[in-house]
């Protein structure tokens, strides 16, 4: 029986999975960074806000709202409006929203513009539909295979019996230390 060349197969698996999952790795990695910093930015939209003073109050009707939007150059973008609270008005625009305080007339126009690429990648990251769940499960399995096969690609003192072992141990220790400090 011919000797099974496991190292060769590990290299083949590592190489081909690496090629195959290159794209999706970038999707998860880039959107992962984007989503990690939700407190600092909106990864899906570029939001611009401007304060306005309006004459809108509790007695205002739709025509008044449209007139106010006209003054602010947003009449053509009007979609709908509603009163989320006794003193608040929310106007939906195409690519934006206007909030108005009915007591003071003060308002805020928020315009949003899609961030190309990020929006699509974040969409995939959030697991939008079951077919993507299947693919991402497969990808997760492939990542495990990539990690395991990656350990044994190099022989000698830079491999898993030398420097590789130290780096692997360090990589395992980092999450463990974090858990001991912040979790337990």
């Amino acid at each position: 029986m011919a000797k099974l060349k496991w190292r060769k197969w590990f290299r083949v698996i590592h190489r081909d999975f690496g090629y195959l999952f290159f794209g999706v790795t970038l999707v998860y990695a880039i959107s992962g960074i984007a989503i990690n910093h939700l407190n600092d930015w909106n990864p899906n939209y570029v939001i611009t806000a401007s304060d306005i003073q309006t004459n809108i109050d509790h007695q205002s009707e739709k025509d008044d709202i449209l007139a106010m939007l006209e003054e602010n150059g947003e009449r053509k973008n009007y979609k709908n409006h509603y009163f989320p609270s006794e003193n608040g008005l929310k106007i939906f625009l195409k690519n934006g929203v206007v909030y108005v305080n009915l007591n003071s007339g003060k308002g805020l126009i928020e315009k949003s513009k899609r961030r190309p690429m990020f929006r699509e990648m974040n969409y995939l990251h959030y697991n939008p539909i079951k077919y993507w769940t299947w693919f991402s499960d497969l990808y997760a399995g492939a990542l495990i295979a990539l990690a395991i096969t990656g350990l044994f690609l190099v022989r000698g003192k830079k491999g898993i019996t030398g420097r590789g072992a130290w780096l692997t141990v360090l990589g395992i220790l980092i999450p463990l230390i974090y858990l001991f400090i912040y979790f337990y």
């Binding site: 197969w9 590990f10 909106n42 609270s85 929203v97 939008p128 295979a145």
Partner: protein
């Protein structure tokens, strides 16, 4: 020996990955059986939804309203309202419906979906939400709100209702 162990490990990972897919497929088949209903969906107004939802749990209904909020993170849920802004119905996606687009906000939509009871979001029986101090007591108003059964709609499909500006 080590070679064999490693090979078995890699094979196990691959089998596990495929096994997951099969399990999901099986689960989906069961779900589909539950979802199939013979009756024609009943159209309810948002105002009567709260009152009648209990009798429609697990059944298909149609709701129409204005989207006032779409979850910005995953788009897995949105809220619609109608004339009374205090009445807000939560619409959720299923495994087979794509995430809701945040740009739906402000649009009038017609949704076909299945009524389901929202699992209690309040932690009771000695459990406390993150950041909540031990011994925290819910006040009476809080209790009334959360102890009333809440219902949402699991969206099968939806369509934007096109209105002329004069109609709104």
């Amino acid at each position: 020996m080590l070679k064999n162990v490693l090979l078995i490990l890699v094979a196990a990972v691959m089998v596990w990955s495929c096994g997951n897919q099969q399990a999901e497929q099986k689960e989906q088949t069961v779900e589909e059986e539950v979802v199939v209903v013979d009756e024609k969906p009943v159209a309810l107004s948002l105002a009567e939804f709260d009152e009648k939802a209990e009798t429609f749990v697990g059944k298909e209904i149609i709701l129409e309203g204005t989207v006032i909020h779409v979850c910005k993170h995953g788009g897995q849920k949105m809220f619609i309202t109608a004339d009374d802004p205090d009445v807000r119905i939560k619409i959720t996606t299923t495994d087979e419906t794509a995430a809701f687009d945040p740009e739906l906000e402000g649009s009038d939509i017609k949704v076909v979906g299945i009524v389901e009871e929202i699992e209690a979001e309040v932690v009771g029986e000695g459990k406390h939400a993150e950041g909540e101090e031990e011994g925290h007591e819910e006040d009476a108003e809080h209790e009334n709100y959360y102890h009333k059964p809440q219902y949402s709609l699991k969206c099968i499909k939806y369509a934007v209702v096109e209105n002329t500006p004069e109609e709104k």
